[in-house]
C-alpha cells in the first residue's frame, strides 16, 4: 500500500514538474515538438541532402544550387563571392544569412569568399540575391570585381 502511495506521489511529482510555469512551455515547444517531428521523420524517405535542406534551410539550398550550376557548366577552380549579410538585412530587409566560407566549403566543397576576405581578389563568381530570386553571375574582370566590392563597401560582413 505504501509503495502504491509513493508511486502515486511519483506520478504527481512528474506531472507537477511538467506543468510548472516555464517547464510546461518548454516541454510542449521542445520535447513534444521533437516527438511530433520524430513521428514524421521515422517514415520519410528523404536522403541526406533532403535532411540537410530541411535542417539548414534556404542558405543551404542556395549553396547546393550554386554547386549544381557550376557542375553543369563544368567550371573548375570557382571562387564564389557572397554579398554581405548586412546588405540583406539593411538594404533588402531579408532575414537571409549566407554561410561563411568555411561552412560553404562544408556544404559544397567549393571555395567562397566574403567582401573583406584576404583572398577576395580570387573571386570569379558572384551569388546575387534579390527579391526576384538568386542568380550566379560570372565576374569577368578585376575591374568588375573592384566595382562590385565598392558597391558593397558600406556593408560590413557579419555572421
Amino acid at each position: 500500500m505504501k509503495i502504491f502511495l509513493l508511486t502515486v506521489v511519483s506520478f504527481l511529482a512528474v506531472i507537477l514538474v511538467l506543468n510548472a510555469g516555464y517547464y510546461k512551455t518548454w516541454f510542449v515547444d521542445k520535447p513534444m515538438q521533437y516527438w511530433a517531428d520524430f513521428q514524421k521523420q521515422k517514415d520519410d524517405t528523404v536522403g541526406i541532402q533532403g535532411i540537410m535542406t530541411g535542417r539548414f534551410g534556404l542558405p543551404y539550398t542556395i549553396c547546393v544550387k550554386v554547386k549544381e550550376v557550376l557542375t553543369k557548366k563544368k567550371v573548375k577552380d570557382a571562387v564564389i563571392l557572397f554579398e554581405p549579410n548586412s546588405y540583406y538585412r539593411d538594404s533588402l530587409h531579408m532575414p537571409l544569412r549566407v554561410p561563411e566560407p568555411a561552412v560553404f566549403y562544408y556544404y559544397t566543397g567549393l571555395k567562397g569568399v566574403w567582401t573583406t576576405s584576404a583572398e577576395v581578389n580570387k573571386a570569379n563568381y558572384l551569388v546575387r540575391v534579390s527579391s526576384k530570386g538568386v542568380s550566379l553571375d560570372e565576374i569577368k574582370s578585376p575591374a568588375q570585381l573592384q566595382q562590385l566590392l565598392a558597391n558593397y563597401r558600406k556593408f560590413t560582413p557579419i555572421l
Binding site: L6, F38, Q41, G112, P157
Partner: protein, 529 residues
C-alpha cells in the same frame, strides 16, 4: 549495417573503458561501472584518430578501427596477463573464471530492478533520452562552431584520410574553430566511418551513460523519489538538454570535469592513491576536450593539499600528489595546444594575442562576475537556460543554512567546487576577451550544473526528507557507497540502517568493497615530522 557498427563500437568503448577502470582498480555498482566504462571508452576512442594523426598514419577505416580494438586490448592487458599467469591450468582456470563471471553477471542482473515509484521518473527520463538520441542520429550537426571547424574537418578527413586536409585551404578569417580540440573531430571521424553520415551518436552514449550514472549516484544519497525528481529537473534544463544532441565540447567537458571532481572528493575521504590518479586522468580528458580546463584544475589543488594536510602527509608526498593529479591535464594541454596547433596545423594561431592586454584594469572582471550573476544565473534568461534548477538549488542552499545551520563535509566540497568554477569562469572571461558572456561563459556554466546536483544530493534537508520517507516506507532501497572503497554513511544511510532493512546492498547490486590495495599505498602515508 549502421546499427551493427554501433553495437560493435559500444562494445569496443565498453572494453577499453572497463580496461581503464580495472587499471585504476575502480570498483562500483554494476550500473555505474557500465556507465563509467562507456563514457571512458568514448574518451579513449576520441584519442585514437588524434594519435594516429600525430604519428602521420593515414586515417582509414582499417587504421582507425584496428587501433580502436588494439587500444581496447592494451587497456585490458592487466586482465589478460592475470589469465596468462595461470597458464599451467589454463583451461580449468579459464573455465572457472568465466563461470564465476557469468554467475556474477546473473546475480547482478537479478539484483537490478526498479521499484514501482521509480517508474514514472524512468518513463519521463526515457522519453527525454529517446527524443535526444533520435535528433542526434537523424539530424546533421547545426551549431556554427561545429560546422565552421571540427565537423567540416572531420568530413574532409574521412575523404582525404588526414585531419590536415583541404579545409585548411579555405578562407578561414571568419572562424577560429579550426583550432579547437581534436576530441570532436576524432569522434566524428570514427562515427562517420562507421556509417553514420552525421556522426554525433557518440554524444548520445555520453548523455545516456551520464544520466544513468547520476541517477545511481543520487540514489545512493537520497530516496529514489527525490533522486528521480532532482535528475528530472537536471535533465529538463533547456540549454543543457539542447546540447545533449548538438555536438560541441561543453557537454562532454562538463561530464569529465564532474567525474574528476567526484573521484577527487572520494580520494579526500578514502585516500586511495589509484582514485587520485584516476581523478587526474579524468581531469586530463576534460582538458583534452577544452584546454582552459587546466586553469580550472588549479583551483582544486587546495582541496587536495588540505585533505592531505589534515592527515599529516609529508610535504614531499603532497607535492607529488599535486603533480600526479595535474600531470595528465598538462600533457593533454601540451598535446592539443602546443604540439597539435603549434606544429601540425598549417595555419598559425597567435594565442598570446588573445589575452587581455589591460590586466591592470579590473573593472571588466567585476563586470563579468556581475553579468554572470544577474544575466546567466538569475532573471529571465536564466529561466530560459536552466529552468528552475538554479532557483531550487539556491532555495535548498538557503534552507540548509537557515534550518540546519551547517553544511556537511560532502556538501561543503561541492559548494567549493561550484564557487571555484564560478570564480574560474569569470577570470577566464577577463583574461580572454573571446570568452564571451552569452556563448562561451554560458556554456561554461554547464560545468556547475552537475556540481549543484551533487550538492543537492548532499543537502541536509533533503537527507532528512529522504530519511523520513524511508522510515515511513520501512524499506530503504540503497545505502551509500563511496566510489571505490569502504561504504560511507549519509543521513539517509544511517537512518536506513536503524530501520532494520538488511538487504539494501543486494537489491542495489553493489560490488562488495575491494580489499585494500597493498601494492600501491596512498601517497603520503608517511607522516609529517
Amino acid at each position: 549495417m549502421a546499427f551493427i557498427a554501433l553495437i560493435l563500437l559500444v562494445l569496443c568503448h565498453l572494453l577499453s573503458g572497463y580496461g581503464l577502470l580495472t587499471l585504476f582498480t575502480i570498483r562500483q555498482k554494476t550500473a555505474i561501472t557500465l556507465a563509467l566504462a562507456l563514457i571512458l571508452g568514448v574518451a579513449v576512442a576520441s584519442l585514437v584518430p588524434f594519435v594516429l594523426q600525430l604519428c602521420f598514419i593515414p586515417l582509414t577505416p582499417a587504421t582507425v578501427f584496428g587501433s580502436l580494438v588494439l587500444a581496447g586490448l592494451l587497456l585490458n592487458i592487466r586482465t589478460l596477463l592475470r589469465i596468462g599467469k595461470t597458464a599451467g591450468s589454463f583451461d580449468r582456470s579459464f573455465r572457472e573464471r568465466w563461470g564465476r563471471f557469468v554467475r556474477e553477471c546473473g546475480r547482478r542482473v537479478r539484483a537490478f530492478h526498479l521499484l514501482p515509484y521509480e517508474i514514472p521518473f524512468v518513463l519521463i527520463l526515457g522519453f527525454l533520452l529517446f527524443v535526444s538520441v533520435w535528433r542526434c542520429y537523424y539530424l546533421p550537426p547545426t551549431s556554427r562552431d561545429a560546422l565552421s571547424g571540427p565537423e567540416a574537418i572531420a568530413e574532409y578527413a574521412v575523404r582525404e584520410h588526414t585531419m590536415i586536409n583541404s579545409f585548411f585551404n579555405v578562407d578561414l578569417w571568419t572562424t577560429n574553430n579550426q583550432f579547437k580540440s581534436p576530441f570532436l573531430i576524432s569522434l566524428q571521424i570514427i562515427y562517420k566511418m562507421a556509417g553514420f553520415p552525421f556522426g554525433q551518436i557518440w554524444l548520445s552514449l555520453i548523455f545516456i551513460s551520464f544520466t544513468v550514472l547520476l541517477y545511481q549516484v543520487l540514489k545512493e544519497k537520497l530516496h529514489p523519489i527525490i533522486a528521480g525528481l532532482l535528475l528530472l529537473l537536471f535533465t529538463m534544463e533547456p540549454e543543457l538538454y539542447a546540447y545533449s544532441f548538438m555536438i560541441l565540447y561543453d557537454y562532454s567537458n562538463m561530464v569529465f570535469l564532474f567525474l574528476s571532481l567526484y573521484f577527487l572528493f572520494d580520494y579526500c575521504k578514502s585516500k586511495t592513491s589509484a582514485t587520485l590518479y584516476f581523478a587526474g586522468l579524468l581531469m586530463g580528458i576534460a582538458t583534452y576536450i577544452r584546454s582552459e580546463t587546466l586553469a580550472l584544475a588549479l583551483f582544486f589543488i587546495p582541496v587536495l593539499i588540505l585533505s592531505q594536510w589534515r592527515e599529516k602527509y609529508s610535504y614531499r608526498q603532497m607535492v607529488l600528489s599535486v603533480v600526479l593529479f595535474l600531470l595528465p591535464a598538462v600533457i593533454a594541454y601540451y598535446l592539443t595546444v602546443s604540439l597539435y596547433i603549434g606544429h601540425y596545423l598549417p595555419v598559425h594561431y597567435a594565442i598570446g594575442n588573445l589575452v587581455n592586454q589591460h590586466l591592470s584594469d579590473l573593472q571588466p572582471l567585476f563586470k563579468r562576475y556581475g553579468d554572470i550573476g544577474t544575466r546567466l544565473l538569475t532573471g529571465e534568461l536564466a529561466l530560459h537556460l536552466w529552468g528552475y534548477f538554479m532557483f531550487i538549488w539556491a532555495a535548498l542552499f538557503l534552507l540548509e543554512g537557515v534550518l540546519l545551520r551547517r553544511y556537511n563535509r560532502d556538501a561543503r566540497n561541492w559548494l567549493y567546487a561550484i564557487g571555484a568554477i564560478f570564480v574560474g569562469l569569470g577570470l577566464l572571461g577577463y583574461l580572454l576577451p573571446l570568452f564571451d558572456l552569452t556563448d562561451t561563459t554560458k556554456r561554461g556554466l554547464f560545468k556547475v550544473l552537475p556540481l549543484m546536483l551533487l550538492y543537492m544530493a548532499n543537502n541536509g534537508v533533503l537527507h532528512r526528507l529522504s530519511a523520513w520517507i524511508g522510515q515511513w516506507e520501512n524499506a530503504v532501497p540503497v545505502l551509500q557507497t563511496s566510489p571505490g572503497k569502504a561504504p560511507l554513511r549519509s543521513t539517509y544511510g544511517k537512518l536506513s540502517k536503524t530501520t532494520g532493512n538488511k538487504q539494501p546492498d543486494k537489491r542495489a547490486g553493489k560490488t562488495p568493497p575491494p580489499p585494500p590495495d597493498k601494492k600501491s599505498p596512498a601517497p603520503g602515508r608517511k607522516k609529517r615530522k
